[in-house]
């Protein structure tokens, strides 16, 4: 066998392992790992630590695979958006075909291995989540409707349900409450981002609500979803996955979140431009803590329960 074909011209970039890892959207993956782990621990059935570790790892790989497929499909719009221009494909570090292959291979591997490690229902749910994110959201909704992130948000909401199903092998109301929490949180989180990343979505022709219906409507949508989210989040405190700690967290954070959404709603666009979208950026940062704290509280309630401390 000749090694001539392995010679690349000097100066040509050699894709590094870190570039492939960046394709898997590690920050999104960390959120998926955390919420899936909370779903798994909050479930009333104990799971062997090795099975739990392997299952969460395969859920993370599945999430990463859908991220790679998303980057492959969206490479054209990623290149024109400031926020995403440095991603591995638009920056030329990874060829698009390799991203597609990696995404497909890891999708198959993660679903198959989760089926073997946990159960077929969780594997089927992971396969559906990858399909939903890569095909329904990325290929269809994202460029077709301003409701893209509302419906597409479901993809990010599945991990705690998968975690729950890994442990129990079935669905339950509590699992869907965790799903609803992420599902209702996604629109205000992304619309706040769209408000201050103003030119990005315009440049890429992505029909975000800010582009199709204007910024005033987007501000109204943020408060509408935040009110519904607050009712849901506080209400969850009275269910089997809630407890005093969760309820206290939910009351404090939802009060702050509602105040932030109200400020965004009341504010004219001119004021936002003048101060560089300070209120919108603050709301966006708070939204990250909001989700982390709610799921952290559910986790604490579950961990304390065996000692007679968590839950009601």
């Amino acid at each position: 066998m000749s090694d001539v074909s392995y010679n690349t011209p000097t100066g040509e970039y050699d894709t590094q392992l870190g570039d492939y890892f960046a394709l898997l959207k590690p920050r999104v993956m960390s959120l998926v790992v955390f919420t899936a782990l909370v779903g798994l621990i909050a479930a009333p059935v104990p799971v062997h630590p090795v099975i739990a570790f392997a299952s969460i790892l395969f859920v993370a790989i599945g999430a990463g695979a859908s991220g790679a497929l998303n980057m492959w499909w969206d490479a054209d719009i990623d290149a024109v958006m400031r926020r995403t221009a440095k991603r591995p494909i638009p920056s030329g570090r990874v060829p698009a075909g390799e991203a597609l292959s990696l995404g497909m291979a890891l999708s198959g591997l993660s679903v198959m291995m989760l089926g073997l490690a946990a159960n077929l229902l969780s594997a089927a749910l992971l396969a559906f989540t990858i399909f939903f994110y890569a095909v329904v959201y990325s290929m269809w909704l994202k460029r077709a409707t301003p409701q893209n992130i509302v419906i597409g948000g479901a993809a990010g909401a599945f991990p705690p349900v998968i975690g729950w199903v890994i442990a129990t092998g079935s669905f339950s109301v509590e699992a869907w409450l965790m799903f609803a929490l992420i599902f209702m949180w996604t629109p205000p989180h992304f619309w706040a981002l769209a408000l201050f990343m103003k030119s990005d979505y315009d440049d890429a022709d992505v029909p975000m609500l800010t582009v199709t219906h204007g910024r005033k409507v987007t501000r109204a949508h943020i408060i509408a979803y935040t009110v519904l989210l607050a009712v849901l989040a506080v209400g969850t405190g009275f269910t089997a996955i809630g407890g005093p700690l969760y309820l206290a967290t939910a009351v404090v954070l939802n009060t702050l979140f509602l105040k932030g959404a109200y400020d965004i709603w009341r504010r004219p666009e001119e004021a936002a431009i003048k101060d560089g979208y300070i209120v919108e950026k603050k709301f966006f940062r708070l939204s990250l803590w909001y989700l982390f704290a709610h799921f952290g509280a559910i986790l604490f309630e579950a961990v304390l329960r065996p000692f007679g401390l968590g839950g009601w």
């Binding site: 090694d3 392995y6 090795v50 490690a117």
Partner: protein, 54 residues
């Protein structure tokens, strides 16, 4: 010409190759640990001889 170990591509891609190797080794260990856990948990208990003859 054979692909010799001292070829320039080996040096250039060392980090990548070591990374892939470690990941594959990790995967093997994980599958082994999973198998061991499943077998010792009784999930794959073989049917007893008398059950098979019935």
């Amino acid at each position: 010409m054979a692909l010799r170990p001292e070829h320039e591509i080996h040096t250039r891609r060392r980090g990548r190759n070591v990374g892939v190797g470690l990941m594959l080794a990790g995967f093997v260990v994980l599958v082994l640990a999973l198998t061991f856990t499943k077998v010792t948990n009784g999930a794959f208990e073989l049917p007893r001889a008398e059950e098979l003859t019935q």
